[in-house]
């Protein structure tokens, strides 16, 4: 699965953001955008490869170029950090919401 970020947008359905994996400029622009979305309170929901399973990213690791996804360790019950690489992950960003 190649990486894509889909942002739910009011008038456009969704904005599909893809990146050239070879481009350094694209990488920096993507990282800035993802960090801005997280700061603005968006929920970024990342999909496990070839699966219906999703998890919410709680941060972004620039060095690893990956979403930070907390996971519960089944054996110990503790929460540990796992990473989903930006360039191979399908993610959907949902803005802050109002209850109806």
């Amino acid at each position: 699965m190649s990486g894509v970020l889909e942002i739910l947008n009011v008038g456009l359905g969704d904005l599909k953001i893809t990146w050239d994996p070879e481009s350094e400029e694209d990488r920096q622009r993507a990282q800035k955008m993802i960090e801005a979305l997280l700061r603005q309170g968006y929920a970024i929901l990342v999909q496990d490869e070839d699966s219906e399973l999703h998890a919410r990213a709680t941060g972004f690791d620039r060095e690893r170029d990956a979403y930070v996804v907390p996971e519960e360790d089944q054996a110990t019950g503790r929460t540990k950090r796992t990473y989903r690489r930006r360039t191979t992950t399908r993610a959907t960003a949902v803005g802050r919401s109002a209850g109806g």
Binding site: L8, V10, L12, R96, G100
Partner: protein
């Protein structure tokens, strides 16, 4: 509405698209909702322009004399009565506590919500709804998407909590606890990314995007879904049952 388009030469679809282009230029990727005459918007906390929700609303200014001002007047409480199937107001007037039972029954409230939701439909672009449906098909597969097209609903059991969610187009999500002995409605969850039009079931986003938000939040972070939603009991008109 048709008159407004004829006067300005701008269609609602063009207005919506222009707003999104402006929003993206400013780094507001969720976009800006389209105001609809007479329908108030309730926008999410943190929306960049606080006065935006007032666009399209009539001026609320009124004039009163100092002869008719009652200093004690005020609303003390309001609830929707399950027994009476009507809203109940408790208020103060002339220093006394009074009550008012709304003449409008619950089916009238439901009809109003339906009618106002039709009005809010002006705000949505058809191509945005089609794109959202394509995304939904990728998320749930061909079979379930086909049933969604025909019925407007998708059911899914949470892998974490085992609760059953009935995601409905333009209506709150029904949450069921299903066991071998019984099926019980726990709550009806209402949530709209960015905002919604009050007195309707319409969100600022196209209907299928609202549903996608519910579905993905349930899959990824069920606690967050419940935290962010308004939780309505099944018998309230707002539950949409």
């Amino acid at each position: 509405m048709a008159t407004a388009e004829a006067e300005t030469g701008i269609t609602w679809a063009q207005l919506t698209l222009a707003l999104q282009q402006l929003a993206i230029e400013r780094g507001h990727y969720h976009g800006y909702p389209t105001p609809v005459d007479g329908l108030r918007m309730e926008l999410a906390a943190g929306f960049p322009y606080p006065g935006y929700a007032e666009i399209g609303m009539p001026d609320a200014t009124f004039v009163c004399t100092n002869r008719d001002v009652d200093e004690t007047a005020g609303i003390r409480n309001y609830w929707f009565s399950k027994r009476l199937r009507r809203g109940v107001w408790i208020y103060m007037e002339q220093g006394r506590i009074r009550h008012l039972i709304e003449p409008k029954a619950d089916y009238a409230i439901r009809f109003e919500q339906l009618f106002n939701t039709l009005r809010a439909g002006l705000a949505w672009r058809v191509d945005a709804e089609i794109r959202a449906q394509q995304k939904l098909r990728d998320l749930v597969g061909e079979d379930r998407f086909g049933r969604y097209l025909c019925t407007g609903a998708i059911m899914e059991r949470s892998r974490r909590s085992s609760l059953v969610y009935v995601f409905r187009r333009l209506l709150p999500t029904i949450v069921l606890r299903s066991t071998d002995e019984s099926v019980r409605v726990l709550a009806c969850l209402c949530l709209h990314p960015l905002g919604y039009y009050t007195g309707t079931h319409a969100g600022c986003m196209v209907p299928t995007d609202d549903l996608i938000a519910h579905l993905l939040l349930m899959r990824a972070d069920e606690h967050m879904l419940w935290r962010r939603c308004n939780q309505h009991p099944a018998w309230l008109p707002q539950a949409g049952i």
